[in-house]
Structure formats: structure tokens, C-alpha cells
Subunit: 327 residues, 2 copies
């Protein structure tokens, strides 16, 4: 099976077996591509992944950072990709000559963690992917929950600051969770703390003109710099607030945290767990596990393959070669 | 079937047919009762309701303002009732001589609205009961969603004010939604606006020493008093923020609003709808309906009967006469 994570800046494709083991992988930079160019690049990567695989691929699964109509496999809203409005699954099926399945990348990361990762065995799990924003997927009663039109799980747009600032990236919300729990949020706190503490490693890095990007801040925090640790801790406590709300809403068994920010590991999860324990009833948090994701950058690709395995077993595809384009 | 809403201040019992029509109803004041007295009052009310019914009752359903363990029918956490920790379903089954089913009152209001009320026909619905706090129930993929331990749907404890005040009623949260969207919140806004606008009807009522309780504020708003309308509008906009978050999380088809606050009708729902339309993507709100509940004070009782009808059909009861007490 071929799984493809078609992100806003990078495409990752791989041949993935039924146990979700990854054989062969390839990646392409796709930042700035227009619609046609992106579709061409995706199809070409898929064909190359098919060629590399030992077994004949039976279908292709795609993860896209967009709201996907589950019935047709069309892209309903694609804030981070130039694919809005197209019948993605059918278009790709024609190009690659195989049945195609597609879903939101946050949903697919949740599917991967549920099948073979940190949420394995849980009937009720929330998977958060913390990067530029908050990607998320919900496993409820043992299955991926998509809502009425496939748009459920946009947890980054829970409004956690009632009189807060407008969100970015065309989101019409204000005080959205992803303004507080994301790479940009970590960078903002780091910049502030660097200015407040010029003698810290963080402050010195800023004085040297180094951009205080997430990976650097995380590295300095792991090295023990108090200002960098403080930046991570602030974001971690905001994450704790988001998780506290989510467990009151869903009463899950496990919350899995992945994405770029989880590089901070326990520096992120520790303060988040502490805040959750402080701000929720014991009944809802005493058996809750808050765990790092098993799959890192490959979660979307692996989940895309899992989607295709499931879809083939269920009998239908969102797109199939020779079928009529429906949307 | 007998349905019982065993609230913190009042018990409501009735004989309810399979189509959820209510025949006979009776109520009892239960405020301030201890555990034994409350159980006695509930059992006595059930026996009286059984006597009044034309058909022989086959089971009893109870709604309780508490977290209920779905397996055993025990009360796990009962902040608003003296029933914490008891094997409620089994205890009541022994007393009334019939199979007993029990669930959280917010869940049962959702069940009633889904079966025969404003959420009928929807596979994805959120039912909010706005009173002293926020009661809620989630209909996901056509079924009541309870989470890992029966504690899902505590939507009043979503934290919507990141640096907010501590919650009340033993909740360890801060900035919880029910601090902003509830009867007490309406009263607080009304008191402030009455002081700011002494010439308004609201201000004059306050000067006369009348308590600015929810029903009075709502009545003055319906009469056109601008200060009372402003108080309702502020709460309505906060409700809109909560609904905006919920639709990003769940992507439902319908949000139903019931409880005491819905007496304000469109004065409440209008500004809430307007805020939701302004703060969310069209894709998630364009087909969303925000509707008043069909069932008012009887929603919990009707939902309790629906639970018992469902439970009998499924074959097992949480409590049965002669069975061993499990918890």
C-alpha cells in the first residue's frame, strides 16, 4: 500500500505494509507550488513509490492539511494547500491508475497512533499534532470521528481566550488554542524571554542574531537554559489547559501529543500533566495517560496507508480509475 | 415506563409511553435531603407513578446530576446530590422491585431531544441545558457518547478564559464556560447593568429591591428594556463563543439549547448565531442549525424513560431486584 502525506511544504510518500511497517520512503519539497504542479508532483512520487515497492500496490492513501468531504474525497476547505474545491481522490486515481483514499492529515496521524502507536488498544483517544498550528484527530468508541461533514477535530480552533486576539491563516476565530500552543507560540515566548534575560543562553542566541525557532529553543531547554525551559513551560501549561478542556469534553483514556513541539519531550508533557491534574476532577484524570506520539514526521503517511488498507477492506474507494468525477 | 429526573432541588417522575408521550406526572421538593431521605422519596415517587399508570411499568429510568459509571449504575461523582459513591441502580431496583437504569441528566436531555425533539433525525447533535451551570449531552454518529468512564460531555468545564477566575461548586477548573453562560452569569451581568443604568426597567427593579433573578431579567428583556436586553445579549455572545468552539470540535448538524435560559428565546439564540457565523468557517456553520429545545423541564424525565426503553430492548439492566450489589 502507498501512503502519502501531502503537506503544505513537503510531500512524504512510502510503501507501507499491512502491519504499518514502512518500506521505502521518498520526499519532495512542494512549498509554493500551484495546483497543477502539486498534483503532478504527487502523482509522480506515487508512481515512483509503486516502482520501488516489492509487492504490487493495491491502492493509495493521501493525507492533506485540509477539510475533506469524506464521501467524495474532495477538498472542501484547504487553507494550507492550493487544492480547495477539487475532486482530489478521483483526480489522483486517474493519474496513478489505482483506487485512492484521502483524509485530513490530523485524522490520519490519529489513525496511525491508534492502530500501531501510543493510542493502540484505546477506545477513546485524542491525538494532537503540534506544529505551525494544532492538527488533531479523535478516536471515539474505537473509531475515527469525522462529524457531519468531515470537519470534526479542529481542536486548534477551540477558543480558549474569550477576549483574545484574532487567529491567523484566514481563521475567523479569536483566542484560538493554536495561538497559544504551537511552534509560533513557542517562538513568541522565547523572543520575549530572550529580551528579558540577555545573559541566558536564549538571550545570547538572540544577541548573536540566531532566529529563535522551535528546534533551537527546544535544544537550549534540553541543555538546561532556564529561559528556554521557561518558554517551553509556558506553552506546556497552555497545552495543559487545552487538554483539561478536552478531557471534560471527551473523557478519553489517552491523549497523544506529536508534531514538532514534542521534541521537548517531558519538558512539554510534565507541566501539561501537572496542570491537568490540578484543574480537573480526579475521576476524569486519574486513569488518563498523556503520552508522546510514537510516529513522528511519518504519522500522516502511515495513517494514509492505514486509511487505504481499511478502505479496500470495506470495498469502496473515494476515487477509482475510470469512474466518473462526481464533484 | 417510569422516568424520573432526580434533580438537586426537585424530583420529577412520570409514566412515559414508547413514543415518549407523558401520562401522569408528579413532583417533589428534595432540596436539603440527606442520602437516605432522598432515596426514600425517590422510591416512594416511583411507586406512586407506577400506581397511577394504566399499563404495568416494566422498568424505571433515572436522571441524576452526577457522573454515573455506565456499567454498574453507580454514582461516581455527585457534586449536586448526596448520592456520591452509592450503587444507585441496584439500590433503587431493590426498593421499587423493577429493573433500573440511570444516567447523567444532561445525557438524558440529549437523548430526549434526539429521539423526539429538536435533534430528531440528526446523527451529530449537541444538546446544552443552561441553568445553574451547563448540562450537556453529545449525540455522535447517531448515539449518545459517554467516553471512557461515562464522564464525557462536561461542556461547562471547557476553559474559555485562559487567565480566568476559579470555577465554583468544587470544580478545580478556571475560566470554565459555565461561569459565562448560565443563570448566575445572567444575574451578574444584570446587576452590573442595573447599576450602570438606574433609569432602565432593570435599574428600577433593582432600586425597588427585587432580586434580579434570571426569569425577571428575561421578562424585562422580552418587554423591551434595553438594559435587560443587553444583559441577555452578553450571555448570548458568550454562548456563541462556546458553540463556535464546539462546532470546530464536533462538526455537528444541530446544537439544541434548553434549560432555564432558553426562556429568552431568540434574544438568546439570535446573537449566539450571529457570533458563530462571524467566528467560524462557512463550511462548518453553513448547514448548522441552532435550535431551542423542544422539551423544557421534562427533558430529563423523558430521556430517563427513553434510556429505560432502550435498556430493556438491549436486554440488561444496571440494577435488578434480587441481583447482587456489585459496587
Amino acid at each position: 500500500m502507498i501512503g502519502v502525506d501531502l503537506g503544505g511544504t513537503k510531500l512524504l510518500a512510502g510503501a507501507v505494509d499491512r502491519q504499518l511497517g514502512v518500506h521505502h520512503r521518498l520526499s519532495r519539497a512542494v512549498a509554493g507550488m500551484g495546483q497543477r504542479e502539486l498534483l503532478d508532483a504527487a502523482a509522480e512520487a506515487v508512481l515512483q513509490a509503486i516502482d520501488q515497492g516489492e509487492e504490487r500496490a493495491a491502492a493509495v492513501g493521501f493525507g492533506v492539511p485540509a477539510l475533506i468531504d469524506p464521501g467524495s474525497g474532495s477538498v472542501a476547505v484547504g487553507a494550507h494547500t492550493p487544492l480547495s474545491g477539487i475532486a482530489f481522490a478521483q483526480t489522483m486515481a486517474e493519474r496513478v491508475g489505482l483506487p485512492v483514499f484521502v483524509d485530513n492529515d490530523g485524522n490520519l496521524a490519529a489513525l496511525a497512533e491508534h492502530r500501531a502507536g501510543a493510542a493502540r488498544g484505546a477506545d477513546h483517544a485524542i491525538v494532537l499534532t503540534l506544529g505551525t498550528g494544532i492538527g488533531a484527530g479523535l478516536i471515539l468508541d474505537g473509531r475515527l470521528y469525522r462529524g457531519a461533514r468531515g470537519a470534526a477535530g479542529e481542536l486548534g480552533h477551540m477558543e480558549i481566550d474569550i477576549d483574545g486576539e484574532p487567529d491567523v491563516d484566514n481563521c475567523p476565530g479569536r483566542g484560538c488554542a493554536e495561538l497559544f500552543v504551537s511552534g509560533p507560540a513557542l517562538e513568541r515566548e522565547a523572543a520575549r524571554l530572550a529580551a528579558d534575560h540577555p545573559a541566558s543562553a536564549l538571550g545570547r542566541a538572540a544577541a548573536e542574531g540566531r532566529p529563535l525557532a522551535g528546534p533551537l529553543v527546544t535544544e537550549l531547554a534540553h541543555d538546561g537554559d532556564f529561559a528556554a525551559i521557561e518558554a517551553v513551560t509556558i506553552v506546556a501549561q497552555r497545552l495543559g489547559i487545552v487538554i483539561a478542556s478536552l478531557i471534560n469534553v471527551f473523557n478519553p483514556e489517552v491523549v497523544v501529543v506529536g508534531g514538532g513541539l514534542i521534541a521537548a519531550g517531558e519538558l512539554l508533557l510534565g507541566p501539561a500533566r501537572e496542570l491537568v491534574a490540578r484543574r480537573t476532577f480526579p475521576f476524569v484524570h486519574e486513569r488518563l495517560r498523556i503520552l508522546p506520539a510514537r510516529f513522528g514526521a511519518e504519522a500522516g503517511m502511515i495513517g494514509a496507508a492505514a486509511l487505504a488498507w481499511d478502505g479496500l477492506a470495506a470495498g469502496g474507494a473515494q476515487g477509482a480509475p475510470g469512474a466518473e468525477v462526481v464533484a
